[in-house]
Amino acid sequence: MTPGLIFALAGVGLFVLGLGGVILLAQSLRRILAFNLMGSGVFLVLVGLAQRDGNPDPVPQAMVLTGIVVAVAATALALALARQFGDREDA
């Protein structure tokens, strides 16, 4: 078992955990965190699977960087909405 494959399998595990969290949890904040876990899992799979003959492949690394930017933007929007929603509930 190569290190790349270990990374990829760990990524699949994180993805499944995160997916379960998004579907099963009730609180918005927990669901947003679970979504981030899902994203991290996908990034691990991308980087892990792309190590061909021990040489890292730059293309998926660029993809992961783009993916992180998207995930940060999405998380910020989700947090802003969750906060607005929470404020209304408290009021």
Binding site: A8, G11, F15, G18, L19, V22, I23, S28, R31, I32, F35, M38, G39, G41, V42, V45, L46, L49, A50, R52, D57, V59, P60, M63, T66, G67, V70, A73, A74, L77, A78, L81, A82, Q84, F85, R88
Partner: protein, 480 residues
């Protein structure tokens, strides 16, 4: 194309991005005039592109001069151009409508609308799986912002739920992309096509399953439709129109593109299931539309039903080009008709000050043009000639009969009758005489430009049926 600077492809993405950003700089509520100028330009660009593609076939553009695999390629074939035309044709009258609708203050509507259109145009022009992921996320983020625009508790809750569904489904899609890259070492649709065989490794099956499920949930196919009615029914009328007409069509377009392109042999395995889910969506969505008491929820449930028709095309795709034409025609006709219907619902709610069907009594006398537009859009949804909806359903029935699959014919005709049922619920109530019920919200004067923009969209959805030949000529460009 000798001069890449004059190529319409990148400008279709840059132009809405530019007016969206300028509208943001100008401040809340401003930028509507700019948007109209930009959208007129976009419509012109889309028409130029359509002529180019019909004359000389599918074209691609290497962004910034860096082609794939290092850079990003944009690809415009017949299918992409048809969707681009739909997007600009819906967006321009909607902008006229929105300027009058948001007379009290548009908030951040114009920047978000600009970003949404830029993301949609980029999505239709994408030629690789990863670029599709990025544009899908951009579409979702802009759409969620638009749903939350009013800031009412119901809207924020619907937006948050919509966002979490979008993020989860995009995550599933991206996992599929990661697995595909791991197996084949490429994400380009064109390069993948010859690599994917009939007996691919297990990881590819898993990847196609994840990507397919993610896109199906984004298209709100039954049983993934639960997020759509609150998000589309609760948003402001111009937002609902953009979401129902365009945003759900984006993920359908991707499903169609992937099922016809690289994963054609694998998609055939799931085609029957997709068709059956589509049939259930038609029945369930129509049934809910017949039961609901709110005007906009009726229109939103009708979207769930009409999206079902798109998936009836999948089991018939393999044999000939008829089903593809039917699917695209249905996407275009429903896009125009649903934009008109949500716009009409917005006018009716402003004019009566109520959001329920019961409050519509007597509306026929106050906003007759809008009601006429609602009825015209209804003709398309029911599938009566000569509307675009009629042509789509006719092509579907033709394809089903050619292949001896008579069951789909029953679903298509039954769905049309159910659509007639919920359209006439609205019309019947609006023509009732009797004292108008007391308005709950303040009654606003409705400007003529809103009524005419609504009418224009509805008329376009009916007249589309007369332009089927041009659509077929366009679709034959660059599709397998």
């Amino acid at each position: 194309m000798p001069d890449p600077f004059l190529d319409p492809l990148p400008w279709l993405i840059l132009l809405p991005l530019a007016w969206g950003a300028l509208a943001f700089v100008a401040g809340p509520g401003r930028g509507g005039g700019l948007a109209l100028v930009g959208l007129t330009g976009q419509l012109g660009l889309a028409l130029v592109l359509a002529v180019q593609v019909v004359e000389s076939g599918a074209r691609s553009h290497a962004v910034g001069g860096w082609g794939a695999p290092l850079g990003i390629d944009l690809l415009a074939d017949g299918l992409a151009v048809a969707m681009l035309l739909l997007t600009q044709v819906v967006a321009l009258p909607q902008a006229v409508y929105a300027r009058a609708y948001f007379a009290q203050g548009a908030g951040q509507f114009w920047p978000l609308a600009g970003f949404l259109l830029a993301a949609l145009n980029a999505l239709f022009l994408s030629a690789d799986l990863f670029n599709i992921y990025v544009t899908l996320e951009l579409v979702s983020l802009a759409a969620v912002g638009l749903v939350a625009l009013g800031g009412k508790p119901g809207q924020v809750a619907a937006a948050l739920r919509y966002l979490l569904v979008s993020l989860t489904t995009s995550g599933a899609y991206l996992m599929g992309v990661a697995l595909i890259y791991g197996v084949y070492g490429t994400v380009s649709l064109a390069t993948l096509a010859p690599l994917v065989t009939h007996q691919p490794p297990l990881a590819v099956w898993l990847a196609v399953g994840l990507m397919g499920l993610g896109l199906l949930a984004k298209t709100a196919l039954f049983p993934f439709h639960f997020w759509l009615p609150p998000a589309h029914g609760g948003a402001a009328a111009p937002v609902s129109a953009l979401l129902s007409a365009l945003v759900v069509k984006a993920s359908f377009y991707l499903l169609l593109r992937l099922a016809l392109g690289p994963f054609v042999s694998l998609a055939a395995e799931a085609a029957l299931l997709l068709g059956m889910l589509g049939a259930v969506a038609i029945l369930w969505g129509s049934w809910q539309a017949l039961r609901t008491v709110h005007i906009k929820m009726l229109v939103a449930w009708s979207t769930v039903a009409q999206l079902g028709y798109l998936f009836l095309a999948f089991p018939l795709l393999a044999a000939d080009g008829l089903a593809l034409q039917a699917g695209v025609m249905q996407a275009l006709a429903h896009g125009l008709a649903k934009a008109a219907m949500f716009a009409a619902a917005g006018v009716l709610m402003l004019a009566t000050g109520r959001d329920t069907l019961a409050g519509l009594a007597g509306a026929a006398g106050r906003v007759p043009l809008t009601l006429f537009a609602f009825a015209l859009a209804g003709i398309t949804l029911m599938g009566l000639p000569p509307s675009g909806g009629f042509l789509a359903k006719w092509l579907l029935i033709d394809a089903a009969l050619h292949q001896g699959q008579v069951g789909w014919v029953v679903v298509v005709i039954g769905g049309g009758l159910l659509a007639a049922g919920y359209v006439f619920r609205v019309l019947r109530q609006a023509f009732l005489h009797g004292p108008p019920e007391a308005p709950i919200q303040p009654v606003h004067p409705v400007s003529r430009s809103m009524e005419w923009a609504t009418f224009l969209l509805a008329a376009a959805s009916v007249l589309l049926g007369l332009r089927g030949v041009e659509l077929v000529a366009l679709l034959e460009r660059g599709m397998p």
